[in-house]
């Protein structure tokens, strides 16, 4: 028991140092990009014509953006959104939306 606790302490310390720093850069970019989403996608969308994207699974979001970009899914507004995002930006936005959602 004592051994496993000691083993856990360096792990926690390492993750609290590296984890937030590694994610912080992505989240600042994701937060800025998500501001554009907030113009149409309400966090608590009561009207379903434009769905909520807060809490959307990261991989699901990335595949949706790719489908809108390629035209596999047809939606002229989302096609223009998707073509404005690089792969790196899409990943940052996917992570931010899945963990924080839209609106500051």
């Amino acid at each position: 028991m004592q051994v496993s606790l000691r083993a856990a302490i360096p792990l926690l310390a390492a993750s609290s140092l590296l984890g937030p720093q590694a994610l912080a850069a992505d989240d600042e970019l994701g937060a800025f990009l998500s501001e554009t989403c907030a113009a149409c996608h309400q966090a608590d969308a009561r009207e379903s014509a434009i769905p909520s994207i807060s809490g959307l699974d990261e991989a699901k979001f990335i595949s949706l953006i790719q489908a809108y970009r390629s035209g596999m899914r047809t939606n002229s507004v989302m096609h223009a959104v998707a073509t404005s995002l690089s792969d790196e930006e899409t990943a940052a936005l996917a992570h931010y939306l899945s963990t924080r959602g839209v609106q500051p």
Binding site: E28, L29, A31, F32, L33, E35, T36, A38, A39, C40, H41, Q42, A43, A45, R46, E47, S48, A49, I50, S54, S76, V77, H79, A80, V81, T83, S84, R100, G101, V102, Q103, P104
Partner: protein, 420 residues
């Protein structure tokens, strides 16, 4: 949820003594941003600055609530109540910690960096953001004036003018002529006059089917023209007539006593006349030396900072927006880039590549909407369109009905993004 999480994070970080590091210097007061104008652009700037940066934000707005001009055409058609267009400032104060001052800003001293209020007080700022919207060039049409607008409303600013036009439409006799005078470019909401015609026609079709609508235009083409004209033919055959500049020679004068509109070679007597005059940036921007000869304000496209005065930024209808239209969506989009730039300048927070977006939905009928829009980036020294899109003539009724539902969802989302 995200808001609560962030606040909680700040409290924890504060307890650990980290918050002081984010400020310009320990013990020094927060940098001050004053925002003039609580419309689509100003409310958004104030909210995003207060939510995302360690800044003291003051919003100066004379009116206790904002009545959106966007979506007011639905109210004119009797499809939406006036109350649903009204948005208060309580959340901006209580939830976001913005100091909301309900007074008129009457002047700016760029050297002293202060804003003068009607009551005499001077508000100091480190950065000023102006979102003054539009003012009307009443001198551009002979006989038109603020007083004449009480008889021949423009209804191009949300509020009492909108209500006045609705009452006139309701009181209009069966078989009456509704004349809409549309301005030359650039002006607020390029598809707006034609959406208004569509929705007034929708109301007439239900309530006054013998009425006619005449558009006297100061230009020879207009936004989404093919889509609107197709919509008028399908929904209101024979009701709407559009006369371009080259046909009439343009509107020269109005006679409020007779509700008459005079063009270069004719006079049209209206039962209801909606005169939308040419526009300029809001008066305080003109008086503060922020507009050029065009009457609009040139800005740096990456920061929305004035090209004529340092430390003053502008967003919304008042600016020269490159390829963007003058719309509430555009103002909201510019506001986010502006807030990012102001926060970076005052707190050292990160800058990102500016990006903008706009969609203008227009109702051709209650369940038929068409849209136009684009993504934008900074290129060639301006806000430049990247990917554009527009609805097509001949789309199915279901596609158009879905667009109408999305327009309503957008209204709920963007007004929450601005005011909640």
């Amino acid at each position: 949820m995200s808001r609560w999480t962030r606040r909680r994070f700040i409290r924890i970080a504060g307890a650990a003594g980290l918050v002081g590091m984010a400020r310009p210097a320990i013990g020094q007061a927060k940098a001050r941003v004053v925002v003039i104008g609580g419309g689509a652009g100003g409310a958004t700037v104030a909210k995003y600055l207060a939510s995302t940066a360690a800044l003291e934000v003051t919003l100066v707005e004379a009116n206790p609530q904002y009545n959106t001009c966007f979506f007011s055409n639905l109210y004119l058609a009797g499809l939406r109540s006036f109350e649903t267009l009204a948005h208060g400032y309580d959340d901006l104060g209580s939830k976001h910690g913005i100091n909301v001052v309900h007074e008129s800003a009457v002047g700016v001293d760029p050297a002293a960096k202060t804003v003068r209020l009607a009551g005499g007080a001077a508000l100091p700022y480190d950065r000023l953001v102006m979102a003054p919207g539009i003012d009307f060039r009443f001198d551009a049409i002979e006989g038109y004036s603020e007083a004449a607008a009480k008889i021949m409303p423009h209804a191009w600013r949300g509020g009492e003018q909108t209500v006045l036009l609705r009452r006139q439409l309701e009181a209009m006799p069966e078989g009456g002529l509704f004349v809409l005078v549309a301005p030359a470019d650039p002006f607020r909401c390029p598809p707006g006059p034609y959406e208004r015609v569509s929705l007034v026609a929708d109301y007439f079709k239900r309530e006054k089917p013998k009425a006619k609508i005449l558009i006297l235009d100061s230009k020879n083409s207009f936004s989404k023209q093919e889509l609107f004209q197709d919509g008028w033919n399908r929904h209101y055959p024979g009701m709407v007539e559009w006369l371009p500049l080259d046909f009439t020679g343009g509107v020269k004068a109005v006679d409020p006593d007779n509700r008459a509109v005079k063009t270069a070679d004719g006079t049209f007597n209206a039962a209801v006349a909606n005169v939308i005059p040419p526009q300029t940036a809001g008066r305080i921007a003109l008086e503060s030396g922020l507009a050029d000869k065009s009457g609009w304000c040139p800005v740096d496209p990456s920061t929305l900072e004035s090209q004529l005065q340092a430390n003053i930024h502008l967003v919304g209808d008042a600016i020269k927006p490159g390829d963007m239209p003058k719309s509430a969506f555009a103002a909201n989009s510019q506001a986010k880039v502006c807030a990012m730039a102001v926060a970076a300048a005052l707190t050292g927070s990160r800058r990102f590549e500016p990006r903008f977006f706009n969609t203008c939905w227009s109702f051709l009928a209650a369940d038929d909407a068409a849209l136009i829009g684009a993504s934008y980036h900074v290129a060639d020294g301006k806000i430049a369109a990247a990917t554009k899109f527009i609805s097509k003539v001949g789309e199915s009724a279901e596609v158009r009905a879905q667009a109408a539902r999305q327009a309503s969802a957008w209204y709920a989302a963007i007004t929450a993004d601005m005011f909640a």
